[in-house]
Symmetry: C2
Subunit: 322 residues, 2 copies
């Protein structure tokens, strides 16, 4: 029965009740879902960010289950909070879904949201949401965090002489996406038939695991700049370089088996940071140095990086002049 139940068969209120029964409760909650708005305790300043997943440019439903989508929508937003050096506390989820969506898929999405929070950012949960109907499945998530009194870590603070360091994957998600395009164009991925490393890459692409707790660790250690790597290491490194008016020189030998993949690969949501040389915490590994600003924002072993800069989801998906 419940497998055949579609979103259009139920009222908005009933579907929201089913979702909220699965999303848990954030530790900061003073007033939870069900009133006009949530009310949340804060100790420092509030960190707030929003990011949307749209069916088509951002995911394919033959590759991603409802659970995967819920997980990913949480993870990518929580990573932006961590990248400020803050502790992620809560999510608000605006869901626009086609009427013929199975209710079970929406419930699985709620499970994915909850488990991503429990796994990556314990204490964080969905505190509010909205459900609308649309012909295009759209998941807009706002993530909130708390600086706990520490100054936020911006993109603009990197100084010549700092170490460039990273916590999290480099190129793994891109490898997974390549695998999906090569082997499963139009069909669900049969993970059992993949080698371990390939399966791992596909799983990470579908359910990213950014090292969220390393964000506050970096802030406490004195990180001078930080951001999460969503559009590729090279492109995101250039953003820190431009904001800080420095050049980031990366060491090819520190970029793993496939430095080119590491440099272009997006959606790992690793935390890229710069630290004074003596301050790099154990969560992070050194991958380069900050130099005085040269022509190129990013160099690899001293040479300007010339590869594909990364992923502009808008331009890469549909521009008539790519």
């Amino acid at each position: 029965m419940s497998e055949r139940e579609m979103v259009r068969d139920l009222s908005e209120g009933e579907i929201l009740r089913r979702i909220l029964a699965r999303t848990g409760r954030a530790t900061v909650t003073e007033v939870g879902p069900g009133d006009d708005a949530a009310v949340l305790a804060v100790t420092g300043s509030v960190v707030a960010t929003t990011d949307t997943l749209v069916d088509g440019p951002d995911f394919r439903r033959e590759w991603s289950t409802g659970y995967d989508l819920g997980w990913k929508a949480a993870a990518v937003n929580l990573a932006d909070v961590a990248a400020m050096g803050a502790r992620a506390t809560s999510l608000l989820v605006a869901l626009a879904v086609p009427g013929e969506t199975p209710v079970g898929e929406i419930e699985a999405m709620a499970d994915g949201l909850r488990e991503a929070c429990d796994t990556l950012a314990p204490g964080c949960a969905v505190v509010g949401g909205d459900l609308t109907q649309s012909s295009v499945l759209t998941i807009a998530v706002t993530a909130l965090g708390d600086t706990d009194g520490r100054p936020p870590v911006l993109r603009s603070g990197a100084r010549s002489g700092d170490v460039v360091a990273i916590a999290g994957d480099m190129g793994v998600s891109a490898r997974g996406l390549d695998m999906l395009f090569e082997r499963y164009d139009g069909s669900p991925p049969a993970l059992d038939e993949l080698r371990d490393a390939d399966r791992h890459a596909v799983e990470r692409h579908l359910r990213p695991r950014p090292p969220l707790t390393s964000g506050p660790v970096a802030a406490a250690a004195g990180a001078t700049a930080m951001m999460d790597v969503s559009d590729g290491l090279a492109l995101d490194a250039s953003r820190i370089a431009d904001a800080s008016n420095v050049t980031l020189d990366l060491h090819a030998s520190a970029l793993g088996d496939d430095p080119s993949l590491a440099l272009r690969g997006g959606e790992d949501h690793a935390l890229l940071a710069t630290f004074p040389p003596a301050a790099v915490p154990a969560d992070f590994r050194e991958i380069g140095r900050v130099l005085p600003r040269a022509d190129a924002p990013v160099t690899v072993d001293g040479s300007p990086y010339r590869g594909h800069g990364g992923w502009d989801p808008y331009r890469d998906w549909s521009s008539p002049t790519p």
Copy 2:
């Protein structure tokens, strides 16, 4: 040139720059748009809510300009913050737009967001956003507010003997929507040909003006319950009644020229509140009394309300069994 420029002709970054050039700066901003997340100062607890406008169920582009949509997306979310008794401080806007959308329409939307904030909630502004491509224009807004140390006003605190009072319009938006359906189905509204009251109603429907500053006033005066009237006075009054386990008896004589319209009409985003009899502030006018719980959650002059309960956007728009 710029009139013919479409969203698909520009990069996501360029469009975001154009939007952010128009959205102003919130007074709470410590770190504004351009980093991984915004950072905002808070004095009390944070109030957070999200609501989405989707082309089709929530608006029609022949009726609403980009400016109207920006204004409305801000106003409906800010009203939920005010309904908690909080001061609205900031908005995050997740925009999913078709590639063939004129850039000028997006810029107008940014203007509408800014002017709604400036008019209704001075000091509030857009602090973050996201732009994605979708075949369906979708505006998901998260509004944040600050309790400034006052306890939030919930739906559940109304007590028998309290006065029921309202700040803002009753039925005006519904009258405007009726007018649009009757006279402008499929065409832009020609406001010049309408009588003053009708034109006013259409304008309020397209650009609602909830009395946001009355929210904190009600909280400071000791409101026992409050919510914003988005789905109709009768339906929303029943929500306070159910949450508080009381009955709200409304006085037909206090519901204006057309009590039936006032009771069913949604989207005015008036603030409906209950107060101890001596505590009703000047912003609010009395429209009823709180009684011990009877069978009906809402009565009008003592008789159970039997009309259409209000607007369930999901069910009313598309259910195969209305």
